[in-house]
């Protein structure tokens, strides 16, 4: 049971914190910025789409930036915008991601590059751009959205699996780098199972019902974006002060 402390004087968990959330127009990214904002954060939401519904309600605590995560230049510009406007960055949620079906034999190079560019390069450039400002802010937390597909293989998802596996190890690398330099920045990956997001439901529509059954998770239901957002918020918070370089699954038992 979550009790939101709206309209009272108690400090919310993320009061005064500034967060960047990519892929924020839909799915896990959207649920994440909503949760962080509900608990006091100022949220800078980015997406390849040209708008993000609902962000206006936050007034000065919300900013939308159309952003292609594949571009190192756009990442640098985004972080400079945040530095100029708020002078700090506490949380980065790399949620932008795409899924393309294909086996190792039938995935063409263009598709492979597209998946790698968004899921892996996008996460990498994000971490690289964010770390200096986070460090100047006195520390922070990075949460990279991987997948159960970063933990186990699937014959039909060659590029997606490889990209999410890369995000898993990249997160550990970032965690170890920051610890080794005494930067007070933690970095972890989350590994959702099948979540009820536009990305996944669009994908499921293309599959046969028997395939969908194969995908079903031991708990027998899809995971809600808000549940993943809860884990992301926890990892972003000071409650997770000892947690870095770890992989957090939220998959209803799918990798048990």
């Amino acid at each position: 049971m979550i009790q939101q402390e709206k309209g009272n004087t108690a400090m919310a968990r993320f009061d005064g914190h500034v967060a960047i959330v990519t892929g924020g127009a839909s799915g896990i990214g959207r649920a994440s910025w909503q949760r962080l904002a509900d608990e006091g954060a100022t949220v800078v939401v980015t997406d390849i789409a040209d708008r993000c519904e609902g962000l206006d309600d936050l007034g000065a605590r919300g900013l939308f930036v159309q952003h292609d995560v594949r571009s190192r230049e756009q990442w640098q510009a985004l972080v400079e915008t945040v530095r100029g406007r708020w002078g700090r960055l506490d949380i980065l949620v790399n949620s932008a991601g795409i899924l393309r079906e294909g086996t190792v034999e039938d995935t063409d190079y263009e598709t492979w590059r597209q998946v790698m560019a968004v899921n892996v390069d996008g996460t990498f450039w994000g971490c690289q751009a964010a770390i200096p400002l986070m460090n100047d802010s006195g520390g922070g937390a990075i949460v990279n959205v991987s997948s159960v597909s970063g933990l186990k293989g699937d014959a039909e998802l060659a590029a997606y699996d490889a990209s999410k596996g890369a995000v898993r190890l990249l997160s550990k690398e970032v965690a170890l780098f920051c610890a080794s330099r005494n930067y007070p920045i933690r970095c972890n990956s989350v590994h959702p199972g099948v979540v009820e997001t536009p990305m996944v439901t669009t994908f499921l529509e293309t599959m046969k019902l028997s395939d969908v059954a194969d995908w079903s998770q031991p708990i027998g239901r899809l995971i809600r974006p808000a549940e993943v957002a809860g884990m992301i918020a926890w990892l972003s918070s000071s409650a997770a002060s000892l947690v870095t370089g770890s992989e957090f699954t939220i998959d209803g038992g799918a990798t048990a």
Partner: protein
């Protein structure tokens, strides 16, 4: 913030270290906490239990259900790490006692708590593994084996409960080296510099505090984690990342 109001939680190993920190944090978030430990404690809702005794588990769970009418949360934090635990030194007694407390105790707790958790509409179990559930050590044969066992037992229980659709979740917490009485006592017997060496095995270059592990326990037993089961969650300062 997370509220556990109206929930009844049983925490083993509650007299010290990770169990004590978990019990305290759960209580601070509104849970009715029943404390269990090998040591007797002269307070209400403190129970002396040898977790390796099946009869003791039966009695304790029945007592809780009779007294509070429900059980929602089980935290199996009781654990031991004994001296002389290299594969060559480890005696049959050390091996058996370590297995009995760490692995049998966790099994028996889950076995006897699940019907009570299920009867109340569901609940959450947190078992205590360790980074030594995931990697070896060289000086902790029985301990590592027992914690590796707890890791897979946890997954097996999660799958059983998911299949049974009883709304009981089961997860594993894997702490690094934490400043508990168990670890402090162990460090006392080691040469000077051992603590610094131990800290250096954690990328964060420090040992954890029990409260930091308790925060993870709180998250996992709360309704925040309703989709989380069969997982293993490290609070280890990066110990297993390199």
């Amino acid at each position: 913030m997370i509220s556990l109001k109206g929930k009844v939680a049983l925490v083993t190993g509650a007299a010290s270290g990770l169990g004590a920190a978990s019990a305290l944090l759960l209580a601070q978030h509104g849970a009715q906490v029943v404390h269990a430990d090998l040591k007797p404690w002269p307070e209400e809702d403190w129970h002396a239990i040898d977790v390796a005794s099946e009869a003791a588990w039966r009695e304790l769970v029945s007592h809780i259900v009779a007294k509070f009418g429900r059980l929602d949360i089980l935290v199996n934090a009781a654990g031991i790490s004994l001296e002389g635990d290299t594969v060559l030194e480890c005696t049959a007694e050390t091996w058996q006692r370590t297995m009995a407390v760490n692995l049998d105790g966790t099994f028996l707790g889950c076995k006897h708590a699940i019907p009570a958790l299920s009867a109340g509409g569901g609940g959450a179990i947190v078992n205590f593994g360790s980074v030594l559930s995931q990697v070896g050590d060289g000086n902790a044969a029985a301990y590592v084996a027992s914690k590796g066992g707890v890791r897979l037992l946890t997954r097996s229980i999660a799958l059983h409960c998911a299949k049974a659709r009883n709304n009981v979740r089961c997860n594993l917490v894997c702490p690094g080296y934490i400043l508990t009485p168990m670890v402090e006592e162990w460090l006392k017997g080691l040469p000077a510099g051992a603590r610094g060496d131990l800290e250096a095995r954690h990328p964060m270059k420090r040992l954890g505090r029990p409260e930091e592990v308790a925060e993870l326990v709180l998250y996992l037993v709360s309704d925040e984690a309703t989709a989380v089961t069969g997982g293993e969650f490290n609070a280890d300062g990066g110990f297993t990342a390199w």
